[in-house]
């Protein structure tokens, strides 16, 4: 946790200096969004929540399912923490965060069980395990407990969307390399009739099976990180 705090602190001072040096003051909400999605992305920069990320991202639809669940959780937890921050006594703030986050995760789990049952079964243990995703607790502690509700909501949305985006991209890449499809079984999430995948390379496509198995998750996430770092260093 301490290390996490440091990374966040470092990242926010980075953001602060970049604001100071620019002549025109950028829109603070835009900065929040960019930080969550790119500059301080929970998965590719802070490297938080990697266990569910690697375990679940074997298809784009699984990634999307867990991504939405995580994003909703971090958004609601940020809003709730920020709205009640005047009651958060310093000594008991961590237990309170835990109560709030675990309550929201259970709630999201119940709703998914009711309205997206097949996805809920596929994600299995990783829905309740959202509670242990450090990115959510980190946002509650380092942002929502010190900022207004609207800003916290935007920060939660950005963090959640950033995490979800990595899940979906990794899931789509693994599914494409391993199966030759992208976004197969979308109907499981929407509860409609079967929808054909976005990309389908056909029955005869001979994929690299390793991509959808656990070792492929590590290798491809490593390559994704390398790509992200390459893009970031180009911008600098």
């Amino acid at each position: 946790m301490e290390e996490t705090g440091n990374t966040i602190a470092a990242a926010s001072t980075d953001a602060a200096t970049s604001i100071k040096t620019s002549t025109v003051k950028p829109n603070p909400w835009k900065t929040l969004l960019l930080n969550g999605l790119w500059h301080n992305n929970p998965a590719t920069v802070q490297l938080l929540g990697l266990c569910p990320l690697l375990a679940v991202s074997n298809s784009a639809i699984n990634g999307l399912g867990l991504g939405i669940a995580t994003a909703v959780t971090v958004l609601l937890s940020n809003v709730f923490v920020s709205a009640t921050k005047s009651y958060l006594l310093p000594e008991i703030r961590i237990p309170v965060y835990v109560i709030i986050i675990s309550g929201i995760v259970t709630l999201v789990g119940l709703l998914m069980n009711a309205y997206a049952h097949d996805i809920y079964l596929r994600l299995g243990i990783f829905i309740p395990l959202i509670i242990t995703n450090c990115a959510i607790l980190a946002r509650a502690e380092s942002f929502a407990s010190r900022n207004p509700v609207i800003d916290s909501a935007i920060d939660g949305l950005a963090t959640g969307a950033g995490f979800a985006a990595v899940l979906i991209v990794l899931g789509a890449v693994r599914e494409l390399i391993g199966h030759g499809t992208v976004m197969a079984d979308l109907h499981l999430l929407l509860g409609t009739d079967p929808i054909p995948p976005l990309i389908n390379l056909g029955e005869n496509f001979k994929g690299l099976l390793v991509a959808i198995l656990p070792p492929g998750a590590f290798v491809l996430f490593g390559l994704l990180l390398a790509l992200k770092n390459l893009c970031s260093s180009d911008q600098r």
Partner: protein, 204 residues
């Protein structure tokens, strides 16, 4: 005086924590109440669907009229779960749980559907740990192999042909994996033999 102040302070903490807990618990109780019926329906439908998979599509209306019983299998000394499926209160098929212990890596669990005329209506794998890309072709999503049991019975093919083609049987093997299909074929045959021994308990 000092200790009293600390007492009040820690009481305050307790009250705040309790308030949060009550609010969250209320929200959860409310959601649970709202979703309870739907989740229950989902679970029932899921079991129904997995049972219906091993029955011919057209003849059975959901929800299935089913009766669950447990019977000991004398050859393996283990209990088997059996669902007797009825139509207009007349038994028309049974679905028997089966476990092939000798898969390539661990046991393979499946459901075997058998019609009143003693032919197999369908087999589906419910759990396995076979090698990805080789033995996992027993899954209905991965290949049509599992459908080659449809319509088979102990009479046809004859007993010696209940094996893979490589051993002069009636069933295809997979390239690079003979043990997985053989384990499944063997267990389906065992299930049929077990079915013969208990058959008269379901049909009068």
């Amino acid at each position: 005086m000092h200790s009293n102040k600390r007492f009040i302070e820690s009481n305050k903490h307790g009250v705040v924590l309790a308030c949060f807990a009550v609010v969250v618990a209320t929200a959860l109780a409310f959601t649970q109440h709202l979703t309870k019926d739907r989740i229950h329906t989902n679970q029932v439908v899921r079991i129904q669907n997995s049972l219906a998979e091993v029955l011919p599509d057209d003849r059975y209306d959901l929800p299935l009229d089913k009766q669950k019983i447990e019977l000991p299998d004398s050859t393996s000394n283990k209990n088997r779960t059996i669902y007797v499926i009825s139509k207009n209160t007349v038994p028309v098929a049974v679905i028997i749980s089966a476990v092939a212990e000798n898969g390539y890596s661990g046991s393979i669990e499946m459901l075997v559907g058998i019609l009143a005329d003693d032919t197999v209506s369908g087999v589906r794998i419910t759990k396995h740990a076979e090698t990805p890309g080789l033995g996992d072709a027993i899954e209905a999503q991965k290949s049509d192999w599992i459908k080659s049991f449809d319509g088979k019975s102990l009479a046809a093919p004859t007993e010696s042909r209940w094996t893979v083609k490589k051993q002069n049987g009636d069933f295809d093997q997979f390239t690079g994996a003979t043990i997985t299909p053989r384990a499944v074929i063997h267990e389906v045959k065992n299930t049929l033999i077990f079915y013969q021994s208990v058959r008269q308990q379901f049909y009068q």
